[in-house]
């Protein structure tokens, strides 16, 4: 009875697909569409005012103080992206290579590297806030303990180090993810290909750059794209560690915090503007979508079938 089977199969597919589709529609598609709509109106608190066309976009991009805030936050996101590209993806690649080559203790380190990834961001953020406490934090106590008093800094309290402290915490938290993706990519490389390379060179660098790196291109596409999206949507960790204002003095402000503040207001400023917030959200969305698409297409082009 093939017909009946198909019905049963169709039913299964329906049951499995409809709930997540509904979820995505309700919590992702609908907010995106509504943000697009809100961005073109003037808002008085929760009350929608007049249609103002591109006025809100103009304000966040070209009118002070929004203009400076936007540039400041965007610049920080760019820094975060490139810093994490090195600290998270770069380090992840090297860690994956070390794990792949089965150096002593690889089994332990595979777990150790990935463990922080499963921790909640809240836990990691609070932990690092404690670690970086100027007086009682383990970082400064350790530095003083080994006589490097001059290196002990109020890491989160000064503009010159705060963003980098957040980046370091983020890199520690998530480095296991690119590591795992790269490791999976490396494990797909046939052993004889690496043997063939070993017959021709003893340089680890040549093997990494000329053989392994090109062959894990699909993994690179995944982690680069996800890091890009993550870096420009960055919110939880700076929110917990630096607060909604991107303290101190906006030195850790990123687009996520800035958008949230603008749309929903914050304790100190108290003002909220859905119109400007939505305009920001739309700009962030378009930027990420456009850039991620171009990036994915370009990265896909260098992938090859093994």
């Amino acid at each position: 009875m093939p017909h009946l089977r198909m019905t049963g199969r169709g039913l299964w597919i329906t049951v499995l697909i409809v709930p997540p589709l509904a979820f995505v529609a309700l919590f992702i598609v609908y907010p995106i569409i509504s943000a697009f709509a809100y961005a073109f109106f003037d808002w008085q608190g929760l009350r929608r005012g007049d249609f103002v066309g591109l006025e809100n976009f103009h304000t966040v991009l070209f009118v002070e103080p929004y203009r400076s805030w936007t540039i400041n936050a965007f610049t920080h996101n760019v820094i975060v992206f490139f810093a994490l590209m090195v600290l998270q993806n770069g380090l992840g690649f090297l860690l994956a290579y070390a794990l792949w080559r089965e150096l002593p203790g690889a089994r332990f380190h595979r777990i150790a590297v990935f463990l922080p990834v499963v921790l909640s961001t809240i836990i990691v953020a609070y932990l690092f806030k404690l670690f970086l406490h100027p007086l009682f934090g383990v970082v400064n106590i350790s530095l003083r303990g080994i006589g490097l008093d001059w290196l002990a800094q109020p890491w989160l309290g000064q503009g010159s180090t705060a963003l980098w402290a957040l980046i370091a915490a983020q890199a520690w938290h998530m480095v296991g993810f690119p590591t795992l993706v790269f490791l999976a990519g490396m494990q797909r490389i046939p052993g004889e290909i690496l043997d063939a390379a070993r017959m021709e060179t003893e340089s680890e660098w040549v093997k990494i750059s000329k053989i392994v790196w090109p062959l894990v291109a699909p993994s690179a596409t995944i982690v680069f794209t996800l890091l890009f999206v993550g870096a420009f949507n960055w919110f939880e960790l700076p929110y917990i560690m630096a607060g909604l204002d991107g303290s101190p003095y906006g030195s850790t402000d990123v687009l996520g915090l800035y958008f949230y503040r603008t749309a929903f207001g914050n304790v100190s400023a108290g003002q909220q503007d859905f119109g400007l917030g939505s305009a920001l959200a739309v700009l962030i969305f378009i930027f990420i979508a456009a850039f991620a698409t171009v990036m994915t297409l370009r990265l896909r082009a260098r992938e090859i079938q093994v």
Partner: protein, 363 residues
């Protein structure tokens, strides 16, 4: 390091007491082997006998646990694979999937520090010899199995190594292509004259290609010799049954004067006999003759089935002690299943092995 073949390279390999241990398992139990310059040596043996492991030790891909390996008098144990002057053709070919044919061949040559012109001339020469010229811009996935094979060989040739290692290079090819490539490899060895070590589990490949066959079993060398030596004077029952197809029949016999008897199965005269009263009699398919019916002098047997191969035929018959014997007959003389036959042996055509340890006994 590698030298020009035309200038007469020397590549003598000397393996002394080589052992290989993976954690607690011994895979090779002391291999002693001398391989001469320009020899085509084939390591042959059943799966898991350690032949590929031995090849990887020679290549330097796995460390030698014990013993020493010398190449031209230089100890190679701790020399990196890329510095041994050895090139390897892998079973899966192991071409770099992201490089085209040209790049695959150029990669190793450039890493040797050759200048651009030299790399190009070597690739041009090799690709001409292997008929790869139309394929130079293709990626490995765009090549057929036979073409990949040729690229893998080309990649090894471009480096002009002293020694070529080939690990089951034909096993991924279909049967028709296999014999073509086998001929090509034999021709290649004649043309370039390097020392080649070739691993296979296929005794036909071993017999047709080798100057010298190394028969391995369970981490030991059973016998080293030319194909003819191995076929005509196998050192023990393992080699006797491994080399030759269909395989040699081994029958437990007891001596009765100048005749050999099988329990309740008649007796046969085979010519001169080794000393001793009981041993294993080894009979190749062409050493025995079949006569219809029983009653005459010879071993009694029952036909099980007949393989007709066109130019000849093989008859499989069961002896009284349940041994399955294979015999070659002419295609005009086919036997039906369950037919009763009498088996006689041409004088001097039989082999004799010790019943205790399977070693060859000379009459």
């Amino acid at each position: 390091m590698a030298r020009e073949h035309s200038e007469g390279i020397v590549a003598q390999l000397s393996l002394r007491g080589i052992r290989k241990r993976f954690r607690t398992t011994d895979v090779l139990h002391g291999i002693d082997l001398e391989i001469g310059d320009r020899e085509f040596v084939v390591f042959v043996g059943p799966s898991g006998c350690g032949k590929s492991t031995l090849l990887r030790l020679i290549a330097g891909l796995d460390p030698i646990s014990e013993g020493e390996f010398f190449l031209n008098g230089h100890r190679m144990n701790d020399v990196a694979p890329s510095r041994r002057g050895i090139a390897m053709v892998f079973q899966s070919y192991a071409l770099y999937p992201h490089m085209d044919v040209y790049e695959n061949m150029a990669f190793g040559a450039r890493l040797m520090g050759l200048d651009k012109a030299e790399v190009e001339s070597r690739i041009a020469e090799t690709s001409r010899m292997l008929r790869l010229e139309p394929l130079m811009q293709r990626k490995p996935r765009e090549l057929s199995g036979g073409q990949r094979q040729r690229v893998a060989i080309g990649r090894a040739l471009v480096r002009k190594p002293d020694v070529f290692l080939l690990d089951e290079p034909l096993s991924n090819l279909d049967a028709a292509l296999r014999s073509d490539v086998r001929l090509e490899i034999a021709k290649l060895h004649r043309d370039i004259g390097g020392t080649m070590i070739y691993v296979t589990h296929d005794q036909v490949e071993a017999m047709t290609l080798a100057d010298k066959i190394v028969v391995m079993n369970a981490g030991r060398i059973e016998q080293v010799g030319s194909p003819r030596q191995l076929y005509e004077t196998p050192a023990n029952t393992f080699v006797a049954t491994f080399i030759g197809s269909p395989r040699m029949t081994l029958v437990d016999v007891t001596r009765d004067g100048d005749r050999l008897g099988v329990a309740n199965g008649g007796s046969v005269a085979t010519g001169a006999l080794p000393p001793g009263s009981a041993f294993k009699l080894g009979l190749r398919p062409d050493a025995v003759q079949l006569q219809r019916g029983q009653g005459g002098e010879g071993l009694t047997a029952t036909v099980v089935y007949t393989e007709y191969l066109g130019d000849n035929a093989y008859v499989y018959a069961r002896l009284a002690d349940n041994t399955l014997l294979s015999a070659r007959t002419t295609p005009n003389d086919l036997f039906a299943p369950d037919e009763l036959v009498t088996i006689t042996v041409a004088p001097g055509a039989a082999h004799y092995f010790s019943a205790a340890d399977g070693r060859r006994l000379e009459p």
